[in-house]
């Protein structure tokens, strides 16, 4: 990752950015996010198979923003997250520098948003193959089987909201789940409250999920909640031929429509 390190070094040295968001070696053999502000410390940046977390979540974080302009190490899902954040006016393109990393782990020079957009356009934007397989398996189940599957999974939920906090698209300062007039979602982590929460989350990410799978990865009790949003991403593509995070223009699927949107269930 010589390129990544030298580029980070150069950006910090020239004061083009004030912080580089990347990965470093963590405890017990894990990789973890790193926030490097000192050019002499860029050597600790790494990129390998362990670096899977979606770093875009930090772009909207107050303490990280405080540094000023940020450079961010970005794989495809992170780039798509950045696109979404720009399109939803949470991040301004002029405040970030993208340090691209290809699927093979190679540094890619992303000179600007247009370049990133072009790069994204060349990539496969569907869900990861492994998850797509699971989705296909689930979709084959009967209604009752699906219900049972999800009830079993969701009963484990403890409402720690790691799924929400890990998601770059869940940047609201007050989540709907915290709205108490009315109390849309039961606060308790019982089956009902959990089910409502996960439906709400999936609906709010419809057309916005970029299939990074971070929510499922973050879950401390291993609920495959990323399948819910990935299913939505799949269906959004299916119905509206749109993948989220491919443009910096405001074009959310759920805030637009086509008069001839096809459906077969409305009488």
């Amino acid at each position: 990752m010589i390129n990544l390190v030298s580029r980070a070094d150069e950006l910090l040295e020239s004061k083009a950015v004030q912080v580089v968001i990347g990965y470093e070696a963590g405890s017990t053999g894990k990789a973890r996010p790193a926030f490097i502000t000192d050019p002499s410390k860029t050597g600790s940046l790494i990129f390998d198979d362990r670096c899977v977390q979606n770093l875009a979540v930090y772009l909207t974080k107050k303490e990280v923003r405080y540094f000023g302009k940020a450079a961010i190490v970005a794989t495809l899902p992170i780039m798509r997250s950045i696109m979404m954040l720009i399109s939803e006016q949470q991040v301004f393109a002029e405040n970030i520098v993208v340090l691209g990393v290809s699927a093979e782990g190679k540094y890619i020079d992303i000179a600007g948003i247009e370049v990133m957009q072009q790069y994204i356009a060349t990539c496969d934007l569907g869900n990861p193959a492994k998850d797509q397989e699971t989705l296909a398996m689930l979709n084959k189940m009967s209604t009752q089987q699906k219900f049972d599957f999800w009830q079993k999974e969701l009963s484990k939920c403890i409402k720690c909201y790691a799924c929400r906090q890990a998601c770059p698209m869940c940047y609201c300062t007050r989540c709907a789940v915290e709205c108490n007039q009315p109390q849309w979602i039961p606060v308790q982590s019982n089956l009902h409250g959990n089910t409502d929460w996960h439906i709400l989350r999936a609906m709010h990410l419809a057309g916005r999920c970029i299939s990074c799978g971070e929510c499922g990865r973050a879950c401390p009790v291993n609920i495959p909640c990323h399948l819910l949003t990935m299913h939505m991403a799949d269906q959004v593509h299916n119905y509206f031929n749109v993948y989220a995070g491919t443009t910096d223009k405001m074009s959310s699927v759920m805030s637009t429509f086509e008069p001839n949107d096809k459906e077969s269930f409305i009488q």
Partner: protein, 667 residues
């Protein structure tokens, strides 16, 4: 502490015949916070309303539920009564026990139980209703009339005569519209130009009217009373102030073979032209698409001959922005041309013409100076066939509606022909003769009885040419479906009236709805035929559907009155059922995070941005803000907002949630 009053109406026996009204009042009376509950024969009657008003005062009620008919019927009545008793009208709700309950169900316990559920739901809702104050917005007292046909002219004059300013925009070089093309008008056969021209001149001279011809509306912002309109004044390539309208340029222009739009292609015009002799304004424009100078870069004959040096080849388009308070759309209609009809030769036959072309042939100022001559060879047609309902009332052609004017003008055409070609034979194929209107039926009878027009009830299957004649094959349904074949010299198709070209784009620019045929849509087919769904925008004439002149003029005057009524107030009062974005204490300011996805769902562009800044002007946060003048209260943004930061007065999240809970649970 809420104190709710419930008033259950029997509606004579309309409700009480199936719903046990007394039981409803009694049961609901047991609910928490219900301070008063009663039933009565007629709540909407004077004594009924008095009962409500007195109960409000006596029991110091903080909200009432009138359980009677549909709120679409009497909500205003009871809200007014509440207001008269000193209760904010938005603290009055109605439970629909008649249309949604007593009239549609059997008399049994389940029906009464349903009534109780419905009332309870509204009781729980009204407990959390807020007292709302009407929204007041100022009014800019200038009207915009789009379209300078007879409807636009009439509207503009009527508004101007009430003392208000009017801007009249017409996209062609002259006002006058289709009416200026007509020869004579039914049912009086007076000359169209003779009655129209004085009005056109009046428009030009009226001190309250600003006329922009050769101009189009490009965009519209704002809301009723406060619109900003963007008008593109297309370049006429001419300094109008200097031009005297002498017309020398038009006679010298070397480019002379441009099909004349005003003559419906039956004549030609030069590249610099005045559409017709009586045009207002009577100054030429250069048609840049056909002008030799613009195409080839040289010519400039007009510039050379112009005595006042008024030609300006480099004159750019000008875009102006004007503040206005109301809009009248009077963009008129168009007709289907012969090329729409495969069975009649796709417009291949020169002597198969449409109604407007016939008007030009019959017009004294037309290409033949009023002589009815075949376009193909200039001969007088001896045998002429008129086809009514060409395209109209034909679902297979996608036009299921009746174009309304064709029966009358076809009768007129046949008469005009007979008056000019006495020995000629005129036949009309028709489906039905629709001649409802003052003196209309008499007019048709005259055509049949005095002018011997041959009316054949049936449709024409095909028209083809053979040896210079047109073979019209049709059927006479009054003769039991007998095939009819007429060898004609000329055929006139009374083609369907359709939406004017560009109507859809204009509707989108104005954010006005339109129907599947691209005609502008009225707010209500019967009770609001002049209004659109966008407040402050009105309709006049055939832009709504095909209309004859008297109808167009009536509606134009109607629209003018609507505008005048609007302008009679200095401030507008609107129902406060609009959306709002929450505001909280700093440093949060609002739970809105400013993703602005709501902006793209809003059909009214009612969502704006609000910046919160530090004292030195640095933006801390940008959040959404609703423009109350624009918001119509659909609530689409509310359901979209992920952080539940937008809400809708009258239908808040809390209220809707409460309704669901109250409807389904025991209280």
């Amino acid at each position: 502490m809420a104190r709710i009053g419930v008033f259950v109406c029997h509606c004579g026996e309309n409700i009480s015949a199936t719903v046990d009204c007394h039981k409803v009042a009694e049961t609901v009376g047991k609910l928490k916070h219900v301070a008063f509950s009663t039933d009565y024969k007629y709540m909407c009657s004077d004594p009924g309303q008095t009962l409500i008003k007195e109960a409000i005062k006596e029991h110091n009620l903080t909200g009432i539920v009138v359980s009677a008919c549909s709120p679409r019927m009497h909500e205003p009545t009871f809200r007014k009564a509440a207001a008269e008793a000193g209760l904010n009208p938005f603290l009055c709700e109605m439970a629909n026990l008649r249309e949604h309950c007593s009239w549609v169900h059997e008399k049994n316990d389940m029906t009464t139980d349903k009534a109780i559920d419905l009332v309870r739901t509204l009781v729980e809702k009204v407990k959390i209703n807020s007292a709302l104050q009407p929204i007041k917005v100022p009014v800019t007292k200038t009207a915009l009339v789009i379209g300078g046909g007879i409807a636009g002219i009439q509207s503009a004059l009527d508004i101007a005569n009430t003392g208000h300013k009017v801007i009249l925009v017409e996209r062609s070089p002259s006002i006058g519209g289709h009416m200026s093309q007509l020869s004579e008008t039914f049912p009086t056969l007076d000359c169209s130009q003779c009655i129209l021209t004085p009005r056109m001149v009046e428009v030009a001279q009226h001190p309250n009217i600003t006329l922009y011809t050769y101009a189009e509306v490009e965009g519209l912002d704002g809301f009723i009373g406060n619109f900003t309109v963007k008008i593109r004044k297309k370049s006429k390539s001419l300094d109008e102030k200097i031009c005297t309208g002498c017309g020398l340029c038009t006679t010298k222009c070397p480019q002379k073979k441009i099909p004349n739009e005003f003559e419906e292609g039956l004549g030609f015009r030069p590249a610099i032209y005045v559409p017709f002799p009586q045009a207002v304004p009577n100054k030429p424009v250069i048609d840049r698409e056909h002008c030799t100078y613009y195409i080839k870069g040289k010519c400039k004959v007009c510039e050379v001959v112009c005595p006042t040096k008024a030609i300006r080849f480099d004159q750019p388009d000008e875009v102006i922005e004007v503040q206005i308070g109301a809009i009248v759309i009077a963009t008129g209609f168009d007709i289907k041309r012969a090329d729409f009809f495969p069975e009649y030769g796709f417009g291949k036959y020169k002597d198969v013409i449409d109604g407007l072309q016939f008007e030009r042939l019959a017009s004294a100022s037309g290409p033949t100076s009023g002589a009815i001559l075949r376009p193909s060879d200039g001969q007088v047609p001896k045998n002429i066939v008129f086809v009514a309902c060409a395209g109209s009332r034909d679902p297979a052609k996608g036009i299921a509606y009746c174009s309304k004017i064709c029966c009358m003008y076809t009768a007129k055409h046949a008469m005009l022909y007979k008056h000019k070609v006495h020995e000629g034979k005129a036949s009309i194929f028709y489906m039905d003769i629709r001649s409802a209107g003052k003196n209309y039926e008499e007019f048709v009878r005259r055509a049949i009885e005095e002018d011997y027009v041959n009316y054949i009830r049936g449709r024409v299957s095909t028209i083809y040419e053979r040896d210079g004649k047109l073979i019209v094959k049709g059927v006479d349904t009054l003769l039991g479906g007998q095939p009819v074949e007429i060898v004609a010299d000329m055929v006139v198709l009374a083609t369907a009236g359709v939406a004017n070209h560009g109507a859809e784009e204009l509707a989108q620019r104005l954010h006005v709805s339109y129907d599947s045929h691209k005609f502008f849509a009225e707010a209500h087919p019967k009770l609001k035929p002049v209004e659109t769904n966008t407040a402050g925008i009105f309709l006049a004439g055939a832009c709504q559907n095909p209309k004859d002149i008297p109808d167009s003029v009536s509606q134009a005057s109607g629209a003018a009155v609507k505008v005048a009524a609007l302008f009679s107030q200095n401030e507008l009062t609107r129902e406060p059922l609009v959306a709002f974005v929450n505001r909280t204490a700093p440093p949060l300011y609002s739970t809105c995070v400013g993703c602005f996805l709501c902006q793209s769902v809003c059909p009214y562009q009612a969502i704006e941005r609000e910046d919160f800044k530090t004292r030195d002007g640095k933006i801390i946060k940008t959040v959404a803000k609703i423009n109350e003048g624009l918001c119509q209260g659909c609530g689409t943004c509310v359901a979209l907002c992920r952080s539940k930061s937008i809400d809708l007065h009258g239908y808040t999240n809390n209220q809707m949630y409460t309704e669901v809970m109250a409807l389904l649970n025991e209280y």
